[in-house]
């Protein structure tokens, strides 16, 4: 399939008279034009273009989940001034040396979306977090088209845990969502995550302000009723080793598999009947026999036909790169929740479908767009563009946001080799243990959770005094500071490197003065000075924020 979608985008093709711009995909021009229209109608002026180094740090964080090293920044700056941004995106997406980190980052992101930050961490959980991550890592490493990914997650059967018979890591998405309470979690998660339809309230009543009715909830729910999770125990014990997700014949709640219906109760106590019907009203045969109709397969097919699938993923990806989606919350789409740029959302969704759901294409369009490349500066000419206070985003500047805990961890590791050596599994265990300190649960059956990695005091304490910071600022032989201290020509050069590595810029005059004062305070011990400065850099707003 062509990278250049023919119909809606054709209008933008004539814009490219300039040869230098020809390498820019028309989708990028479309984004730019539609966002610029918004600026015009609100009479605002966008921020200036971000500095190249700052943009480089930004795109590393967003595409592979960590900041660039000093060397990588240097490599970027050596590229041609007109083309280095495109080259870098190309490199991060397609160069083999980044494949693993790209896959690791997106696997982390999607694991959190699909099973939460705590899914699989509890003893006795049916979920294998390893299995979920392995499946996703493999998928992103091969750049699996998004529609295939969704189909696999929705229809998967097999075993949760790597190394077991019939292993299929994709089952971890649904494995703990189908058994309890008639698969209501499978219903609400699948519709919300992939279609942007918030239906959890309609389990019990018609939704007060979106188009969903209680009937639709149970019709959508019917698609999951052939599916069961089976626990597999460690031999001779009642400890769960892993679980298996299977499809089996469903007799329905009237015990008649040819006509497998379910009942649900209205608020007034009346009982009603539901069969599998998709949100757009499409019905499938009512048989509960898997050999007649596999309900999850049917569901996946209907989902892939839905424009909501395209809009949801485009909106999600946009929000991950720009900090805000076209809607708030990002996974609540529909006429009840107007988008900031409805036309752009629709066109980008179409373009993504036309690219055969190539996620790397979508990432390319977004990262090369003008709004993504702006400086993070709230100025007098765009003062009203402040979505943090409830305004619709206009994307006239890059909105500051905090890195995720995962991005921070990877960045510290990459910048300083703060990880202990060991196998992938050992390192992953260490990472997971570190991440788990920020997860807090709400005590509900739906597994709701929050993170304390949110800019509050516990996070600040961790960065002040935590082990990761201790390792990163260690001055011992062979550690980052030690190696830095014995490199380069002069203290100034080493200080420059430190700032480049952490903040993607050189130190200011005042910062240099502080460094020289520190040097004297440390009795001329440069390593100790570098250690103090590095500690300050790692703790700064500028380090912790994506900007």
């Amino acid at each position: 399939m062509s990278r250049f979608a023919p119909i809606a985008l054709a209008a933008f093709l004539p814009l490219f008279a300039d040869a230098a711009d020809l390498v820019k995909p028309p989708q990028v021009a479309m984004i730019d034009q539609m966002i610029e229209q918004g600026w015009d109608s609100f009479e605002i002026k966008p921020a200036a273009v971000a500095e190249d180094e700052q943009w480089c740090r930004r795109v590393f964080l967003d595409i592979i989940g960590r900041i660039p090293t000093g060397e990588e920044l240097g490599e970027f700056m050596e590229g041609s001034r007109h083309d280095r941004r495109r080259e870098l995106v190309e490199r991060l997406l397609h160069d083999d040396r980044y494949t693993e980190e790209y896959a690791g980052h997106w696997s982390t992101v999607w694991t959190n979306i699909l099973i939460g930050r705590s899914g699989g961490n509890e003893r006795g959980s049916m979920i294998s977090r390893d299995g979920m991550q392995k499946y996703l890592r493999d998928s992103f490493a091969r750049n699996k088209p998004y529609d295939t990914l969704v189909r696999e997650l929705v229809t998967a059967s097999g075993s949760t845990k790597p190394g077991t018979e019939n292993f299929n890591g994709a089952v971890n998405f649904l494995v703990d969502k189908v058994n309890e309470e008639k698969a209501v979690l499978a219903t609400s998660s699948t519709s919300r995550i992939f279609l942007g339809q918030q239906v959890q309230c309609t389990q019990c009543h018609n939704h007060p302000f979106n188009q969903w009715k209680q009937q639709m909830f149970w019709e959508f729910n019917s698609f999951f009723r052939q599916t069961r999770s089976l626990r597999r125990f460690v031999d001779g014990t009642r400890d769960i080793d892993h679980a298996e997700l299977i499809d089996q014949d469903f007799a329905g709640e009237a015990n008649q598999a040819e006509d497998a219906l379910i009942f649900y109760e209205l608020r007034n106590g009346l009982t009603k009947v539901a069969y599998p019907v998709f949100t757009d009203g499409t019905e499938i045969p009512k048989s509960g026999f898997v050999s007649d109709v596999n309900r999850r397969e049917e569901l996946a097919t209907l989902m892939l036909d839905s424009e909501y699938l395209d809009k949801m993923v485009v909106n999600r990806m946009w929000s991950m790169f720009l900090g805000f989606g076209f809607t708030k919350p990002v996974d609540d789409l529909g006429p009840h929740n107007p988008a900031s740029h409805p036309e752009l959302l629709a066109e980008l969704a179409k373009a993504f479908r036309a690219s055969s759901y190539n996620l790397k294409d979508l990432i390319t369009w977004i990262t090369l767009s003008r709004p993504y490349g702006l400086a993070p500066v709230l100025g007098t000419s765009n003062e009203i563009d402040d979505p943090s206070i409830g305004e619709m985003p206009k994307f006239s500047r890059f909105y500051l946001r905090q890195m995720s805990a995962e991005q921070l961890y990877q960045s510290m590791i990459a910048a300083t080799d703060a990880a202990s050596s060991g196998s992938y599994e050992q390192q992953e265990q260490e990472r997971r243990k570190w991440l788990s300190q920020f997860v807090v649960a709400f005590g509900t059956d739906e597994g709701d959770e929050a993170t304390t990695f949110n800019g509050s005091i516990p996070q600040a304490l961790m960065l002040f005094n935590g082990d990761l910071t201790k390792k990163a600022t260690n001055t011992g032989r062979g550690a980052y500071i030690d190696r830095l201290a014995s490199s380069g020509k002069s203290p100034v050069e080493r200080l420059n490197y430190l700032f480049m590595n952490g903040l993607a810029r050189r130190p200011t005059v005042n910062e240099k003065k502080v460094a020289s004062a520190l040097l004297r305070s440390r009795g001329g011990d440069e390593k100790e000075m570098l250690q103090d400065m590095w500690w300050a850099i790692l703790n700064s707003n500028e380090f912790i924020m994506q900007h």
Partner: protein, 423 residues
Amino acid sequence: MTMNWQTPTGMTRRHFMQHLAGSSAAVTASMTMGNALYANAEELKKNHKSAILLWMGGGPATIDIWDLKPGAATGGPFRPISTSGDLQICEHMPMVAQQMHNLSVVRSMSTREADHNRGRYYMHTGFVPNPNIEHPSYGSVIAHETLDQRPELEIPPFVSIGGASAGPGFLGMAWAPFSVTSNGRIRNLEMKLEDSRLRERMYALEMIETGFAKRTRDVPAFEHAKVLKKTFDLMTSSQMEAFRVEKEPEEVKERYGTDGFGQGCLLARRLVESGVPFVEVDLGGWDNHNGIHNILKDNKLPQLDRAMSALMEDLEQRELIKDTVVIWMGEFGRTPRINQNAGRDHFARAWSCVVGGGDLKGGLAVGATNSDGTAVDTEPFSSEDLMTTVCKGLGISTEKTYTSKNGRPMKIAGGGKIISELV
């Protein structure tokens, strides 16, 4: 404290010290006052009011705890018992029954949010969720409104124990809950670095912070600096003693219960005693869609009974109850109808919350539900009303209007009305 610090080249010493004062040196003065304050906790509690929220995550079946319907089809197996107040409660809460003279049950709560996230937000803030604005929660509001009366406090003014509370919304991250586990242990509190060197690092840090905030002019950059200041205060404060719940005598620990919730309630008492204006203690596990009555009888209610009664008894004995409002609630109640899995589902139309202490009357049942608990028979009360009443009990004016950053005026507690029976 000696400052082993040399003036950076190109700056006058005075200029330099001004910078330093902005980041960290100011702490020195407040720390001295803080020590005096801790010693004078006796005096403090007379001047300042606090609140403890016992948050029941998942939505407890108040029809089985506070507003029983014996004999009704919806009633379930539990019997009511008499209490030290003018009302009856569940037989599986015998110890709390002896404390009801200080607690009142609002039996005519009637709300609309029966989804966990929406209910949690609504009950914590007094506002229904709105995608365009985040409202501050109880703890943030009360901390914000009372902190200027206690400038000596170095502990964060809003502490959340054992769970996830609701956030500060538009008040900003400096008013976020400080989350700790129920054993009061705080991760990463110690730096093990010479004081003078820590201060020098703080100075270097401030230099980077300020530059970035000036360049971007964006809110998150400024908020970060406030949080750093609070973090530094906390690391160097002797008031942090209050978190050391392990220092309590064994018999006290056992009276509260040695589980997380019991120790959390004990920690809450210690914090309130030290002047923290708002503490939230979480007890989850109330989302009982299946087999509810066994879970309540064998597990949840004994746990709640022990800890909550210990807290009320302790607050009374220490004469803290007049200055401490206690609130017990979850995101909603549960259906009177018992479902086919012997559980109860989410239900917001008619349920109960419990309040007492501070300036609020105890021992009362306020409002009533109908004979099977499916509807409220008297004037219905909302989260806004409850929060307004709690503020009244703490002497906080709800006439005050916040202006959110986009200029929208917003009353504390969403403009609720005071539940007159309680004041």
